[in-house]
């Protein structure tokens, strides 16, 4: 186990742990903006109670997200110092802007959002919610700008192994940024509303606080039914970006070995890729499928992996399966949404128990899809740190492997402890359920407010 492999594993572990939390932060913040708007506009107390329930989950989630995120800023320097020094002219401003325009914004207004109920006017509190949400989205923008630059570099020139910036707007708005930004932001929204939907469905199945969770579910599904199909489309857009700019990644994730010279390239549905032999075993494929997918024509040329030297090829089995699992989840969720639409049309949405049970079962899938997507993205970029320009092996810090054995072991233990605690406290919050009886803070009470009806206060 050398320092390169250990550092890669550590970076993977820390990012795969961290990403779970911002995904929920970004999506749940948007949901909270929607709920608080409804509270301000309709004056119905139920929306205030909904907000205060879902924000408890948000707060726990945000905390873990922050502390796991600080790790990453340090990790560029501790484990990939040579990379950091080589790309800093172009790359470091992305992180600086993220801190300036996003982290400070989120952190600055989070206190007001969580604790300012008695101290600021409703409209200021709503502003705080909006700014935390905005901060989360801006954060995603800068991180994706940084990652996209690594995938499809632009606005630079390479001088003696050091990247010099030539044009910042080209570097920031690199070719793959827009597609990636849309796809990842939508992934966050989709994952989060499914979580809300799943939890709400669970409460409805149990019959607890039906009024509050019917509303929660309704709002979540309304958003989900828009987000899920849109995400399938955005996935296609991302895929075509990869086809244009990262041919080795595309060929590897599709296990496409031979460039198609006569006729279209087949889409491989299932197979067991063999990297040594450069072929797929037990493949089931759809003729012309791949050409259709990435070139939108039946006979479009798709470069095969054999066009590229072996040392430039990423790991095909990992990519092939992670990509397919991500897409499979996307389509499972699409079918669930179609089912939801049918039920809604028939007026049986909240009563159909198989549907509610399905929502509960599928609600964590967004997180899985996000992880598979990032695995595809990052493993597919290998062996490069900066695609086609700097190899991962060139970027590692000049430190002994022992350092990373130490830190990786600790990260695994710490994340296990923190992750378990996170689940424990979220489940505890869910078990306690929404607070329907604490008095409203004076600034939140309004003339013409519609209080909770008597039946809404009960559990059955």
């Amino acid at each position: 186990m050398d320092v390169l492999l250990l550092s890669r594993i550590q970076f993977a572990v820390t990012t795969m742990f961290h990403i779970l939390f911002p995904v929920l932060t970004i999506g749940l913040a948007l949901y909270l903006v929607a709920v608080e708007s409804l509270w301000l506009v309709t004056k119905q107390e139920i929306y205030y109670r909904m907000y205060r329930f879902w924000v408890k989950i948000f707060a726990i989630n945000f905390g873990v997200g922050v502390v796991s995120g600080v790790v990453l800023e340090f990790e560029f320097g501790t484990n990939f110092a040579n990379f950091s020094q080589a790309v800093s002219n172009v790359f470091s401003p992305f992180l600086a802007f993220e801190i300036l325009t996003a982290f400070f914004l989120e952190a600055g207004f989070l206190g007001l959002m969580l604790f300012g109920w008695e101290r600021v006017h409703r409209s200021i509190h709503f502003l705080a919610t909006c700014l935390v949400s905005l901060g989360a989205i801006i954060s995603a923008f800068w991180i994706l700008a940084a990652n996209s630059w690594m995938q499809t570099p632009a606005g630079y020139k390479l001088v003696n192994g050091k990247f010099m910036v030539t044009d910042f707007s080209d570097a920031i708005f690199s070719p793959s940024l827009f597609a990636r930004m849309c796809h990842m932001t939508m992934a966050s929204f989709e994952t989060s509303v499914l979580v809300v939907a799943g939890i709400s469905a669970y409460y409805l199945l149990k019959g607890n606080h039906p009024a509050l969770f019917r509303r929660s579910l309704g709002i979540a599904l309304l958003m989900a039914v828009l987000f899920v199909p849109l995400q399938v489309y955005l996935g296609d857009v991302s895929g075509r970006q990869v086809f244009h700019h990262q041919p080795t990644k595309l060929a590897a994730l599709e296990a496409h070995w031979e460039t198609n010279t006569a006729g279209g390239a087949p889409f491989v549905v299932i197979a067991f890729p063999d990297m040594e032999a450069e072929r797929n075993r037990f493949a089931i494929d759809i003729p012309n499928g791949l050409s259709l997918l990435v070139t939108h024509s039946f006979h479009g040329k798709v470069l095969g992996l054999k066009e590229f030297p072996r040392k430039d090829r990423p790991d095909v089995p990992i990519l092939f399966w992670s990509f397919r699992l991500m897409v499979a989840i996307g389509f499972i969720l699409l079918f669930v949404m179609i089912w939801a639409a049918v039920l809604w049309w028939g007026g049986r949405l909240y009563e159909n128990r198989p549907f509610l049970r399905t929502l509960w079962v599928v609600h964590p899938l967004g997180f899985l899809a996000t992880e598979f997507g990032w695995i595809t993205n990052e493993v597919g970029r290998q062996p490069w740190l900066v695609y086609n320009l700097m190899r991962t092996s060139e970027g590692v810090s000049p430190i002994p492997a022992g350092n990373v054995v130490w830190s990786l072991s600790l990260f695994l233990i710490i994340f296990a402890v923190i992750g378990t605690s996170y689940f424990y406290y979220v489940l505890k919050t869910l078990r306690i359920g929404p607070d329907l009886s604490s008095p409203l803070p004076p600034v939140q009470r309004r003339a013409g407010m519609q209080p909770l009806k008597a039946k809404e206060k009960g559990t059955r």
Binding site: V67, Q85, S88, L112, F115, I399, P400, Y422
Partner: protein
Amino acid sequence: MDLVAIWSGLIGLAIILYVILDGFGLGIGLLFRSTRNEEERDIMMDSIAPVWDANQTWLVFGGGGVFVAFPMIYGVVFSALYIPLLTFVFGLIFRGVAFEFRGDSTRKEPWNKAFFFGSLVAVVAQGLTLGGVLSGTRVVEDHFAGGPFDWLNPFSVTVALALIAGYILLGSTYLIIKTTGTVQARAYDRAFRAAWIVLAFQILVTIWTPFHYPSALSNWFSPPRIYFIWVFPLIGLSAFYEVVVSLRKRREILPFVFSVVFFFAGYLGLIASVFPYVVPPSITFQQAAAQKETLSFTLWGVIIVLPLVLGYTVYSYTVFRGKVGTERYY
């Protein structure tokens, strides 16, 4: 317009802002060990609950600033100080989640411990990092070329201990502002004791530095520094005197103010001693600096956004001003 000088100043400012703002937060964590009951701990946590995250963000900004402006230092220092820096992060993780998890617990004891130990580990690691940087790093052709434990020596351990005392001082004087009754009374007591310990350590470290870092002595006694370097210990001693006096007189805000001045004096004195070497003994600010376009582009961002950040930070503190009330955040 010297971009390198401006960036040096910016990063210097971010670092001291972080040290003060998270200093009192970490100090409160350190004080957890000697609290008497859960109510006292609730009050102490609530005094920083709405602001700790924004305070910690100055650290991230400082680190980001170093990455932007002095990438060679970022790379070299983060490789050289791998172990203390990641230890610092581990401490911050536990300190950070303790807020939320403790708030949601009925049995708070495990998270009380996490809050204390997380803060302690973070502070010790910070001290070892600072001491380690002052102890020198081996650099060969712009990259780190030393060993994994170069930073571990009696000097850096002493700096760590000094920082523990210093943050306890900041934490307890902050509590004086935010609390009343028994919690405040105990804070006065701890602040008083901490102040003397900090003074002792400050003197010790000041005397030790030139032995550990030889060019400091020659820096001190040669022009132009010989003309003004004595200002810093003078301000430091006066600030210390004022801290002790204002504590005696039961003043509420002045102890914190003068503790901050005390910190500033030590910090500026340190910088004045090692300047222009950013990573003693070998790299200067100019050598480590990034491409001019990077410095200026990012600086524009800072000029536009940082005043806004400072503005809403001040607003946030204003909203949560005053004593910790009876409503509990956690």
